[in-house]
Symmetry: C2
Subunit: 501 residues, 2 copies
Amino acid sequence: MQTKERARKPAISPLRNEDYAGWYQSVVAGADLAEMAHVRGCMVIKPWGYGIWSQIQTHLDRMIRDTGHENAYFPLFIPVSYLQKEADHVKGFAKEMAVVTHHRLEERDGKLVPAAPLTEPLVVRPTSETIIGESMHQWVKSYRDLPMLLNQWANVVRWEMRPRVFLRTTEFLWQEGHTAHATSEEAFEETVKMHRVYQTFAEQWCAIPVIPGEKPPSERFPGAERSLTIEAMMQDGKALQAGTSHFLGQNFARAADISFSDRDGSVSHAWTTSWGLSTRMIGAIVMTHGDDDGLRVPPRISPEHLVIVPLERDGPDPAVTAFCEELAQRVQGKRFGPGVEVRVRIDARLHRSVDKKWQWIRRGAPLLVEVGPREVATRSLPVRVRSNVDEVRAIDADVLVEHIGDLLDEIHDAYYAEADARLDAGLRRDITDWKSFEAFFANDGAGFVVAPWCGKDECERQAAELGVTIRCIPFERGGDPGVCVICGERHGDSVIFGRSY
Amino acid sequence: MQTKERARKPAISPLRNEDYAGWYQSVVAGADLAEMAHVRGCMVIKPWGYGIWSQIQTHLDRMIRDTGHENAYFPLFIPVSYLQKEADHVKGFAKEMAVVTHHRLEERDGKLVPAAPLTEPLVVRPTSETIIGESMHQWVKSYRDLPMLLNQWANVVRWEMRPRVFLRTTEFLWQEGHTAHATSEEAFEETVKMHRVYQTFAEQWCAIPVIPGEKPPSERFPGAERSLTIEAMMQDGKALQAGTSHFLGQNFARAADISFSDRDGSVSHAWTTSWGLSTRMIGAIVMTHGDDDGLRVPPRISPEHLVIVPLERDGPDPAVTAFCEELAQRVQGKRFGPGVEVRVRIDARLHRSVDKKWQWIRRGAPLLVEVGPREVATRSLPVRVRSNVDEVRAIDADVLVEHIGDLLDEIHDAYYAEADARLDAGLRRDITDWKSFEAFFANDGAGFVVAPWCGKDECERQAAELGVTIRCIPFERGGDPGVCVICGERHGDSVIFGRSY
């Protein structure tokens, strides 16, 4: 039995199709994910948002360790001289960074002012290749020490002029993997392996289908020889780079002198990689799965799976409380998907139950059930399935306990299928010349253009004038080589063009 | 059957009784825990050290969540004006801090120099009361929003003039709890609850017995009304403050204007608490459990429990490999203590097996077994039990699989009992006047003096001249009230005096 509620006002304003950017901000706020701090460009990640990040950490960390990496922790501060060692890296990064110049505050005329200047200024890490390189220089001596497979969970800072919560913040949280290898082949294999780990994570955990591919030279990480990316398509047709994996060649190893003596006694520089995935992923989740009632959290990374709201009009009702607790206890620890444990929350806060209900809808908890005396009597529960928020299924309590995993799998699959269909529909393969290319994007064209690019900078720049970049040279979902869609003259491989976050 | 190896050279130099500070540095280095970075005062936490921190995080985080707290994340940077709001807090903290004054680096004459000065300097958080207070000011409106129970896992920075790895580093990792309550009683209850959580964690997880107590006014957290502490005794008799919990009264709530309307419509400031435990705990573990062969990790927080080193003299031996894998698989996931899963590592690195063996001894993995063709044939395994490193027990493989949990419990109990006996023996209750007090500490007296203190600052200052502080007014293991051990005149309660880290 399913019931549909009568037409009602959406919980989020503005709507997606009215003002996408405004909708995004409203969902982030309405779902209690985060808010911008008074500290310019920084964000406060609220418990529900941080709970999603913790789930991302838990599952991605396991994948990173299962592929042989170990976690470690390196300093927050990088002496400016470290950055100077790798010229290309400097060019790309040494711009907007927080610079520490003093190590004391002193009171003068009742005001706290910086004192004790540092002889060498420090930057707050924007990424850690240079500082981890300094340790690898110490630790790597022989081929026996390779591969060195490290990962770090950390905060990083890149001073943002136009911050947007989760998407572009001055401080953000991420993991950054850093590895060193004896050969170029092995290092590139590692780059690909972690790229595929990101793809698996995005698709199987976050229910976000992505296009795996390689960045064109202009979009490479500063100092990298090759940069692999997973590109997701948001609901407005724009691209979001959700995780990158870089083959650094020997560039950073030369700069930091990471060298090893091989079996034959010869000494060579190591080959290194780096790869990262950040709190930006939460922005991708919002813009992939959110609807006009708020967020819909993919079950496998949801902090809670079933939220039970007791309906206790005149204070606590022992029968309702007992029923909720028994239900929670029976459901807790059941498993779904690739072994995820079901988490249950009974929301017994003092707020009005209708407010609590809508809060959990906006937050996007996968399953929500309100339990009052009638539900206790009939044991038939009105289960609200967040994938289709106005659908309330009447499910017998025992059946819910037995099948909660199936329900959660169903929601995951629905989210993935919806996003996958949108991605496929948004891949425009019918745009084959500059005129239609220009017309498509000039009209705020929503989607990715899959078309050949000759490889020349000048064509890339021509697209850039429309605010369009080459998102990647795709490994999947690409097209055939052919005549460049921009110059219409030279041949090249198929690439993905799009506007991006 | 047990065998003892012949007398040998200890793995750590200098020995504990030769040079305790040097021994500490050697254990931290020899156990691959961490090293000081080239960035002044900062440390690099290596995989084994970070593995211990991850275990601390996992188990302490569960205890924090089980007591109703939620994790969140607040900005790294604090505007100087926030600090200025709470005068006492400023006095205590606004000294040695990293100050960000610019947000850009620019190249001038081939050198990167700070550019783009900030209108208001930012400090890198030394602790987050002021910045979290800013959010609580926004979030707390009504009594229904209380209690607000938050926790954050983060890095913090306090510029250290004399850094020592784990004990005092410019950057360190910690958790900081911050809560707001409607009443003074409830806030103080929370302060005590988390104080007891720290005691339980130290004792039951880290096998470190502690003295719970209250700090004297002079040692309170800046801005706190009461500070509770757990004090541990290191092997040299010095005290280490292992975790503190502060009752902040309404001081920070007034400074940040955290106020709420109560049931009767009246508006009041909230009552807040904060409490933290840091990577310093790893220093406490080293100095509590380390021996002259390195670290001994308490099993419940050890990254690995059983390390298997295959003895494969002429390259991989399929029978040995298969045996090791089967053993690992059978042991993995068994449980011990309060439900900790047994973790196994097969160390198949290319290094010499004798080097690997000693590395794991120095690292302090609880159980170590070397497996060669003979062990495969007899299935009798030489199990080295790290609590008594020269003891190798011959244990049948099946018996090991069956009883590995018992072995690990035995090690935990042995570590705790050893430390507990040392703490009890180190509590000097026989020092009852200033002359013997002075003589004891002047001769580098190792241990805590349990004696009455009248409560006067002047007596406290007199002790301070010997480098001795009041560690706490103990809730356990204290003594009777009586005449002050320092002035010999006024009466007071029994306190713990000691030198400290």
